[in-house]
Symmetry: D2
Subunit: 186 residues, 4 copies
């Protein structure tokens, strides 16, 4: 169990960290796991399993293949895995830029759905991605967190790692347009 | 007499319109194919056919499949086609973001190879892409031009269009690190 | 007859060159200044002088100082000048990044106002800027054009030049949120 | 024993949370201030005071005015303050985009100097900035951390906050070209 905030619980020094907002969100999430039962706190739109089922429903080609897997879902955050496959490789045995881009986009999209639920078809409007290091020929882990969730726009950042490595291999920020109900986004 | 300076030398007015130079560059490229023979202009590193063969040699998986095609090659510029295929589709019948990202990246990469020849393995360091409109379920055309070609970094922009349409569907800028010979880029 | 569609309507070939449309747009703008009177074309929201007055009204500190000047206004496009001043300099005698950023932002903002008129308070949501070359210690010219003008988002690109030079010194793309009337943007 | 590797060496679990490493880095920095004396750890190029003096030496106009202040310096990280001043305001009482851009650029630049010392004149090559919320009319705090420090390129991200607030008001990523000694960067 635990919402990602767990490791921070064990590290009270985290308060000095500039990611204050997330930390609070994580703590609130834990509080809500308890309070939710008693006080009818606002429920999360999806469990991980429900979100997995929803993604297969709306993007069957992408999600049935099993390349992408949701590893974790937390308030304003999601962790995704891109399963290593020769199809994602390019020259020199590293993972292609488009596959890394896809992981960033998917991770941010999942984080948004995790907040907004099934009514929202967010549309990517901008992604800026920095490729930092050659990824290892291994699974890629994408850790996304939202830094803004407005009525019309959501903005988030993603860090990519080769599994088992601690050096970031790519970093992206993305903006998503959130359509009003019944509205065409843009 | 170099290729890069040509459009400015012949068109002093070009300085007053930043989009003029490119257009002329394409025309000049054709003129120079003729003039080059007579006036000993600096030769281009590749003809289109040579560049196609080189890409199949270095990225066989990507280029043998035939998804991407070089439509045009000009000084500091390249036009690429992404052949329409259900594999690139997503929810709603439009072309997936990663496929559009790939077309941008490939088009800029080809434009750089078109200038630097086979010695250069440019590495993408940053791409910022704006998704502007839903692309039609048709071939996508990517028009790349380089706006800087330095010793260490190349920067370019790409505009994507659905074939036969005049509204831009996406726009990207990209930065590439150009390794010194025998050097690891970064 | 609208302004925006004009260059495409009259120039079907424009679809084959994404930079053609802008160039024509500038010429068409001049033609339409004449034709507009005779053919009841949809009027532009502002003349240059009206837009100058509006900017002084809404941003007096910025526009009274005279650092920025509107050089040209055309459909989906604007050209701005940043007057050279030691205040914009930094180490080595070149123009500071923030001053170049400001010119990009202002040029895109002016291009949007030129389309939408005085009702619109567009808000910058994202700017991605590439610094390409050291600018000369001279006026900087920023040529902005919009590549999307949706109901909620406008996207444009800007190229910066040192006056009298033909090499681009910086290039930016920007996204602006357009509030509905009476609405808080974002 | 180097500084950069420290948090990973001592915390193998760091790979599971991409925000863990930074936090520890700050704490480790304090620990190392003590340990460094005893264990001959590689010295940092600058203390905060030395870096302040160096910045006044190389950019006197910018740093003598006192608008920017270094709040904290840590391995791969720096915290800067932009002192609130009406000069940074724009329409509606909020802080202008160019002032926020400047704070991002300065914070990343300081973080790089904090690693590389006085030999390095890093040059900004790309900044992508997302404006998330209206800043309060108060000091702005910029928290920068480097996510890559290569031989030729450094990449970092910055989060901006209004003093005393926990919601991020802007976020930027930036790339810097690091010249070889005696070399012209680009």
């Amino acid at each position: 169990m635990g919402w990602k905030g767990l490791c921070r619980e064990e590290n009270p020094a985290a308060a000095t960290d500039f990611r204050l907002c997330d930390r609070r969100a994580s703590r609130d999430a834990r509080v809500n796991l308890v309070l939710g039962i008693m006080s009818h706190a606002k429920p999360r739109p999806f469990t991980i399993d429900e979100l997995r089922a929803y993604l297969i429903e709306i993007f069957p080609e992408l999600w049935k293949r099993g390349d992408f897997r949701i590893e974790d879902l937390a308030p304003m955050a999601a962790t995704l895995r891109l399963v290593h496959h020769p199809r994602h490789l390019r020259y020199g045995g590293t993972i292609a830029g488009p596959a890394m881009f896809a992981l960033c986009d998917v991770a941010l999209y999942v984080a948004i759905l995790g907040e907004l639920g099934r009514v929202a078809h967010a549309v990517t409007t901008n992604v800026s991605i920095n490729f930092l290091r050659k990824p290892a020929p291994a699974d890629l882990i994408g850790k996304a967190r939202l830094i803004k969730l407005g009525k019309r726009l959501a903005v988030g950042e993603v860090a990519l790692y080769s599994e088992g490595e601690s050096d970031m291999v790519a970093h992206a920020t993305g903006t998503y347009s959130i359509p009003a109900r019944g509205d065409e986004p843009n």
